[in-house]
């Protein structure tokens, strides 16, 4: 495009998406976070091709340190755990598992939460107030405690942990959706559209939805990082993914006992969780700034 001869004097006006992308790119930290997060997602998607071994395959080398130590072997890049499984492979498969679970949680919590928020914003005051109180209450409850009680009722294990974390995340989506919609409903262009005779559905789809997307996108990003953290926390407490599963929190709780003689079994899985959370949080911060362009 750039090399085309300019016959006419024309000014290229960037689209809104282009402007937002440009403003996002200006934030160096957020751009770096996007790169790191893309790498993690890539590793997660292509886990079977990247990981050298099966995550449950056991070797005779127990508690081998990472390869850059003198005692380490290059066969096992990040060493092995207490029953001789390759830590690198387990972490790569763990990325796959964690991101997949968090995605499911966000899809469940997001769809339920946004629908409830939609209902709250468009319904009468009594229902709205009741929903508000209920959501405030669930928000006030310690999230992990609620998740633990739910897991205690339906039993430990991965699917149940997903339901529990999703339930805990729903109120955030409800509150954000509701306040975003009500915020827009009070604006004049919405009144104009109502005066033009737009029905409820048209009003929502054509007029409100595009304008509430930015806060929803930010909330989805934050929900994603919360989901990863809570699933890992449940796994660490022995209530989420169970033992042979290469879930990051579960790996950490297994290696808790080896903290003295094999510290790398603790530090490495933690670093994986930490970098994933950090990149998502930075990404969310950058998105919030970039999407806030008009204000």
């Amino acid at each position: 495009m750039r090399h085309q001869p300019q016959f006419y004097q024309q000014q290229r006006i960037p689209s809104i998406a282009q402007r937002r992308w440009k403003s996002f790119r200006k934030n160096k930290l957020a751009s770096a976070a996007l790169l790191v997060f893309s790498l993690i997602v890539f590793a997660a998607i292509f886990a079977p091709f990247i990981a050298p071994y099966d995550p449950t395959l056991q070797f005779n080398d127990l508690l081998l340190p990472p390869s850059w130590y003198d005692e380490g072997k290059t066969r096992f890049l990040l060493g092995t755990d207490e029953i001789g499984r390759d830590i690198f492979s387990r972490l790569i498969y763990g990325a796959n598992l964690s991101l997949k679970l968090a995605l499911i949680v966000v899809i469940i919590a997001g769809s339920i939460g946004m629908s409830l928020g939609f209902v709250a914003a468009f319904s009468n005051r009594v229902i709205d107030q009741l929903l508000q109180r209920l959501m405030d209450l669930i928000l006030a409850l310690p999230s992990l405690l609620l998740a633990i009680v739910i897991v205690a009722i339906i039993g430990p294990g991965l699917p149940n942990a997903i339901y529990a974390v999703a339930l805990v995340l729903i109120p955030h989506f409800v509150l954000v959706t509701r306040s975003a919609i009500i915020n827009e409903l009070n604006k004049e262009y919405v009144t104009a559209m109502i005066l033009d005779g737009a029905g409820r559905f048209r009003l929502f789809a054509k007029c409100i939805l595009p304008n509430i997307l930015p806060p929803l996108i930010v909330q989805i990003t934050l929900g994603f990082s919360t989901a990863i953290l809570e699933i890992a926390a449940l796994g660490f407490l022995g209530l989420g993914a169970q033992a042979p599963n290469p879930e990051w929190g579960t790996i950490l709780s297994e290696s808790h006992n080896n903290i003295v003689n094999a510290p790398w079994t603790v530090t490495l899985p933690g670093l994986a969780i930490f970098f994933t959370l950090l990149s998502i949080n930075l990404l969310g911060d950058g998105l919030r700034d970039a999407l806030d362009l008009d204000k």
Binding site: P142, P263, F274
Partner: protein
């Protein structure tokens, strides 16, 4: 003020009411034989009657006998709860004492490298999974450098009679000859868990203080104070801080449930004999009586504290008070 108080009380009552709906609903999913004490046994009972009976039992303090220890769960809760409060308060104090001055410092030096460093550090703290953070600090401070104990609240060599349940107070009350040494030992045990638990709130307090302080420092009355020739210290600590602290009060209220969530994990890492550890053991034993009691008690306490903080912020903030 009275109207406000009545309104808050009504909101508190509704919240507690909804809470009992939830816990009552949850008990219906528990195996029936575990909750005989709170489920009505009469044959012609309907849902409403059962709920009323449930409320009566709760109010009479009949919360059941724990399956594991055979004692009243309410008593058990009260023996474990002080340890949790001690840890949470210590963590909260740590977060406030470090976080607020850090936020003020960052606001004063806005957009310098110090400010940028502090802001990015808070993001790191915010993203820290505390179960890993706890293990890292144990690895570093306890195992490598031997600075702090690894677990529990007090060394085994001390025999302290529990009076209040708060170890720091009990050691001072004790008439043993080693009371003071025991106090230092208890303090020693408290430091690392409190830092671990306080990290996430610390990051949040720093960010909030910074943004709130920047907003206040831009206002006209601060310019007036500067024009009067007041020193920077005086402007910050006497004039600006009061107004900048208002949002922090609200955030402290919101952090209570985050702290309780954190204690569940911190207590597991440090074998801290508090409510979190007690509840987790109950989950593994399928002790539904204990779980129900723990959920109801902790949730009510959090709701009540939130209400108190809200009243306090109304009291402290004339803007909110005169709005309606």
């Amino acid at each position: 003020m009275i109207r406000l108080f009545v309104r808050q009380m009504l909101m508190l009552l509704t919240s507690l009411m909804i809470l009992t709906f939830i816990t009552f609903g949850i008990t219906r999913f528990f195996p029936q034989e575990s909750l005989n004490h709170i489920s009505s046994t009469s044959s012609q009972s309907n849902l409403l009657n059962e709920y009323i009976f449930y409320l009566e039992q709760i109010f009479n303090g009949n919360w059941g006998i724990s399956q594991a220890h055979g004692t009243e769960v309410l008593d058990e809760f009260l023996t474990f709860f002080p340890a949790t409060i001690e840890l949470s308060v210590a963590a909260l104090l740590f977060a406030l004492i470090v976080g607020v001055p850090l936020g003020i410092f960052a606001a004063q030096n806005k957009n310098t490298w110090q400010d940028k460093f502090i802001v990015s550090t808070t993001l790191v703290g915010y993203s820290m999974p505390i179960f890993w953070w706890g293990m890292l600090l144990v690895l570093l401070f306890s195992l490598s450098w031997g600075l702090t104990p690894v677990a529990s609240r007090l060394g085994f060599e001390y025999d302290i009679l529990p009076v209040t349940g708060f170890m720091l107070i009990d050691t001072l009350l004790s008439d043993q000859p080693y009371a003071f040494e025991a106090f230092y030992d208890a303090l020693h045990h408290l430091i690392l868990p409190a830092i671990v638990l306080g990290t996430v709130p610390l990051a949040i307090f720093t960010r909030i203080t910074r943004s709130s302080m920047i907003r206040v420092l831009r206002s006209d009355y601060i310019r007036t104070a500067k024009a009067k020739g007041l020193s920077q210290m005086r402007i910050i600590w006497v004039h600006a801080l009061r107004n900048a602290m208002l949002p922090i009060l609200t955030i402290v209220g919101l952090q209570i449930s985050v702290l309780i969530t954190g204690t569940l994990i911190t207590e597991t890492i440090f074998s801290w004999p508090g409510v979190g550890k007690w509840l987790l053991e109950a989950v593994h034993r399928r002790d539904y009586v204990t779980l129900h009691a723990g959920l109801l008690a902790i949730a009510s306490i959090v709701v009540i504290i939130n209400m108190l903080v809200e009243v306090l912020s109304f009291y402290a903030n004339p803007k909110l008070r005169h709005k309606r």
